[in-house]
């Protein structure tokens, strides 16, 4: 048995390794927190921070999540919550792509926006946030707009998550994901309303939702007139993360082939078969 592993075993309490001991193992053996986390999970010991996951996720599930890379495209209302929830869930590698800096009008809803960070790049704040929340998770930050030429960024990603704010960019992301065979979890919001679907690898479901085949549509939806409150992105982002979790673990039933329409004003959830 390796020395670090012997140390981890010696510090465990039941099947849990407390956070302080994960940090101690990293310092003592000059390992990263991520390396210690992987060793721990491989030994069927759960890092203590995940103990409330364990009735629904096994140690092997947690390791699958930790060894997964997920791309978050757009780091605003949806993307900020998606980042937070994936980091807390224990997905080990995150990619965030966003060209923008925080502005005052983001403060009503974007989890990562705060007055002190106005003017700073969203992806830089995202890196800092994950380092605070779950330092075993690594984040790659790309301060650029996603388009058809950025497909290379998605290499190695098991799932891509849509946190974009334009329909044109979403259709480009959907087409890149189709070509690369990566599942795409799509979410979009406007005021009290939202929608969600999962595009399976090799398909182009987003074109159905955005109607390009049948009629001309605007490049932005009704969000331009309705704005977005604090709760709608949190709801839709959380549903997106649940889809990602299932895709990574190959469990449950995703929204593939269905689009969920959400109306928080009348509290109606309507499913469309695509």
């Amino acid at each position: 048995m390796s020395e670090p592993l012997a140390f981890i075993r010696s510090r465990r309490i039941g099947d849990l390794l407390p956070w302080a001991d994960q940090v101690a193992a990293a310092e003592r053996f000059d390992l990263s927190l991520a390396q210690v986390e992987d060793l721990t999970l491989a030994a069927d010991i759960l890092p203590g921070r995940y103990q409330r996951n364990r009735r629904m996720l096994s140690c092997a599930d947690q390791r699958t999540l930790f060894n997964s890379r997920v791309a978050i495209i757009g780091c605003g209302g949806l993307g900020g919550y998606v980042l937070e929830e994936l980091a807390r869930l224990g997905v080990g590698e995150l990619l965030v792509v966003d060209p923008d800096v925080f502005e005052e009008h983001n403060l009503n809803r974007q989890l990562l926006a705060s007055p002190l960070d106005l003017g700073r790049r969203k992806v830089d704040v995202a890196v800092e946030r994950v380092a605070r929340v779950n330092p075993a998770v690594s984040v790659t930050a790309v301060p650029a707009a996603f388009d058809l030429t950025k497909g290379g960024l998605l290499q190695g990603a098991r799932v891509a998550v849509d946190g974009l704010d334009s329909i044109d960019a979403r259709l480009e992301l959907a087409s890149v994901c189709r070509d690369l065979g990566i599942p795409l979890v799509h979410g979009a919001i406007a005021g009290w309303y939202g929608q969600l679907t999962t595009q399976p690898p090799g398909e182009l479901l987003l074109e159905k939702i955005y109607g390009r085949a049948g009629h001309a549509i605007a490049s932005n939806g009704v969000e331009k007139e309705l704005g977005n409150p604090s709760f709608t992105p949190a709801v839709v982002a959380s549903l997106e993360v649940a889809e990602v979790c299932k895709l990574l673990l190959g469990r449950g039933t995703t929204l593939a082939g269905r689009c969920l329409n959400i109306d928080l004003l009348d509290m109606e959830f309507c499913e469309i078969r695509l």
Partner: protein, 74 residues
């Protein structure tokens, strides 16, 4: 023929949630969208009897047409 039309989200504002209309045979989704006063560019998903449909779909007696606005924020 009788067609049930369901509107979603803010398409309901100043209109209705669900209403039944009498339309002539051969009526398409596009004609109903126009008669209700919705702009095609604002239209997202069109659903007929629970399934996604195209705007030039010809409706049949008893169909339910559901119209959702385009949602694109993030």
């Amino acid at each position: 023929m009788q067609i049930k039309v369901k509107l979603f989200a803010m398409f309901r504002n100043g209109r209705f949630k669900v209403s039944e209309f009498d339309f002539p045979e051969g009526t398409t989704c596009r004609r109903i969208v126009a008669e209700i006063g919705l702009a095609e560019e604002e239209l997202g998903v069109i659903m007929v009897n629970g399934r996604h449909a195209q705007i030039d779909r010809i409706l049949a007696e008893g169909d339910t047409l559901s119209l959702f606005p385009l949602v694109g924020g993030g």
